[in-house]
């Protein structure tokens, strides 16, 4: 995955902001996989009956909901910006006609 990401970056398919985001993401995934045993212990110490993997799954789901929420907000903001533009064009055009 990291190799693919670096390839995409070199091919200018990803912006630097996105690149950093996904880089950190995959590194965290890698760490999670490697330290799975420790996560298991951590979760058990907290008193949960689930395994480390389950914990990671829940975290992933919460993260996903959060990201979707942010995307939706972003979309709404973009819609409003489009309206601003369309309005400006419309009003400018009408002034030209007078």
């Amino acid at each position: 995955m990291l190799a693919r990401l670096l390839w995409q970056r070199s091919k200018k398919q990803v912006s630097s902001g996105e690149f950093v985001f996904w880089l950190i993401f995959w590194v965290l995934v890698g760490i999670a996989v490697v330290t799975l045993k420790w996560i298991d212990e951590f979760v058990r110490d907290l008193g949960f009956s689930g395994s480390g993997i389950e914990f990671l799954l829940y975290v992933a789901v919460v993260l996903l909901f959060y990201l979707v929420f942010k995307v939706r907000l972003r979309l709404e903001r973009i819609e409003k910006q489009i309206t601003k533009l369309v309005r400006s064009i419309a009003l400018k055009d009408s002034e030209g006609k007078r």
Binding site: L73, R87, A90, L91
Partner: protein, 221 residues
């Protein structure tokens, strides 16, 4: 007092000509039709009928179109701004009834109401289920008591229009405008109006969408 009639329109080439003509026949010469990215010749027909037409390149929604038209009216020196529907459901003769209290200074905003005495032929579903529900939701969300909160027939002074900055593009603008009016302290006066129902109205799905829009609007702001 300079009165501007703002009519947002989307694909109403069949009806807009008649509406604009009727409005102008009542003596209101400043008619602004906002063509909200229509696919048909709404713009052309409206211009023919004597209206000033402002066109949105793409469809943005009735709330957005109304705002554009209102902006335009303010810029052109309007004293009083009237919101009027493009589909022929309102009567041009009643514009005078709506404007008179504002002209006389009795109110700065008047809102049309279907339920204040004048008989409007509402379809059954709308009259007994959708409208009471809409009224209840409006009450709960905003604490505003009106007999017809979803009515698009409005008159306001330019001063009020300048202070009411609604952002909803789509159908939630009705509720947002009301909310802003009350929030800024402008108490509207309700005037009985007639609404003609040929065979359609706003469907129930619209109500759910309105709720969602309002909720999101609160979040973003």
């Amino acid at each position: 007092m300079r009165i501007f009639i703002v009519i947002p329109a989307y694909n109403e080439a069949g009806k807009i000509g008649g509406v604009v003509t009727a409005v102008r026949k009542q003596g209101h010469k400043d008619v602004v039709v906002v063509d909200d990215g229509s696919g048909d010749d709404t713009a052309g027909v409206a211009t023919e009928a004597g209206a000033v037409v402002i066109s949105h390149l793409v469809n943005r929604g009735q709330g957005a179109a109304l705002k554009t038209g209102t902006e335009y009216a303010i810029r052109r020196g309007a004293d009083i701004i009237v919101h009027f529907d493009a589909d022929g459901q309102f009567l041009a003769e009643e514009i005078r009834d709506m404007v008179k209290p504002v002209e006389k200074g009795e109110a700065r905003v008047t809102l049309g109401s279907r339920f204040l005495g004048k008989k409007s032929d509402l379809p059954f579903l709308k009259r007994f289920i959708i409208m009471p529900l809409a009224r209840l939701i409006n009450r709960l969300l905003s604490g505003i008591k009106l007999t017809d909160p979803q009515n698009g027939f409005r008159v306001m002074t330019a001063e009020v229009a300048r202070k009411i900055d609604w952002r909803s593009d789509r159908m939630a603008h009705c509720s947002e405008i009301l909310f802003l009016l009350y929030h800024k302290g402008f108490r509207p006066k309700e005037i009985p109006v007639t609404v003609i129902y040929p065979d359609f109205g706003q469907r129930f799905g619209g109500g759910i969408r309105i709720l969602k829009d309002l909720f999101l609007a609160r979040l973003i702001d």
